[in-house]
């Protein structure tokens, strides 16, 4: 695939950050979108529930909010809707809940990176199949985690 054939990564990446799973949906990857939306949003909400729905706030928890903000819209909505909440007592599982919401943000960051990689390098399953079909030693390379390099080599060989 040449540079001009590749779709622009900007809009899918922005959508992937703004709503977990939407970036994958934008590039036509329905199942990854569903799995990412399900895991990230569930983990984020479960974390909020464990922390008493007052852990996502750029005023009360500014450092954690940097991680929460990776979730995009859910973090913005949570911040705005819990803005006036007064914290009277700490719950026993609050630190764990805080971590859950932060991990959800980091997982969405991985999903954003994946959208960018899919736009730039193509689909991982198609790449595996292509390598397996063209290169008899591809399986060993895939086991060694060398799939992308092997794909690039195959592409160069094909161009030549």
């Amino acid at each position: 695939m040449s540079e001009t054939d590749r779709p622009s990564a900007l809009l899918p990446v922005l959508l992937a950050w703004f709503v977990p799973g939407l970036g994958h949906l934008r590039i036509g990857r329905r199942w990854p979108a569903l799995f990412i939306a399900g895991s990230v949003i569930t983990l984020f909400v479960v974390g909020m529930w464990m922390a008493g729905f007052h852990n996502v706030s750029h005023v009360r928890e500014p450092y954690y909010f940097v991680l929460h903000a990776m979730c995009g819209l859910p973090a913005i909505v949570a911040d705005l809707t819990t803005e006036s909440v007064q914290v009277t007592h700490r719950l026993p599982f609050e630190p764990t809940g805080q971590l859950y919401s932060a991990v959800a943000g980091l997982l969405n960051l991985i999903a954003v990176s994946d959208v960018w990689a899919r736009c730039r390098r193509g689909d991982p399953e198609a790449l595996k199949e292509r390598i397996a079909g063209e290169d008899p030693y591809a399986t060993e390379k895939l086991v060694q985690g060398d799939a992308v390099d092997a794909g690039a080599r195959t592409e160069v060989a094909g161009d030549a």
């Binding site: 990854p32 895991s39 991990v103 991985i110 999903a111 399953e125």
Partner: protein, 64 residues
């Protein structure tokens, strides 16, 4: 015992979420995503359980 179950459930929730994202970034089809999710879940939870067992053994040796 109740506390242990609670902590185990917390651990499983976060491990499942991480596994689902790993599955989603490694594959595209439903079968592929499910397979990779299951593989990651087994690897993550198995690795963590082994780590905890190793730490417990080490602690018991140190205490003895």
């Amino acid at each position: 015992m109740h506390d242990l179950i609670g902590r185990g459930a917390q651990f499983l929730v976060v491990t499942l979420a991480v596994s689902m994202v790993i599955g989603a970034i490694r594959a595209t089809s439903l079968q592929g995503v499910l397979r990779e999710t299951l593989r990651s879940f087994v690897a993550l939870s198995g690795g963590m359980v082994l780590l905890v067992i190793a730490l417990q053994l080490l602690l018991s040796v140190v205490q003895a």
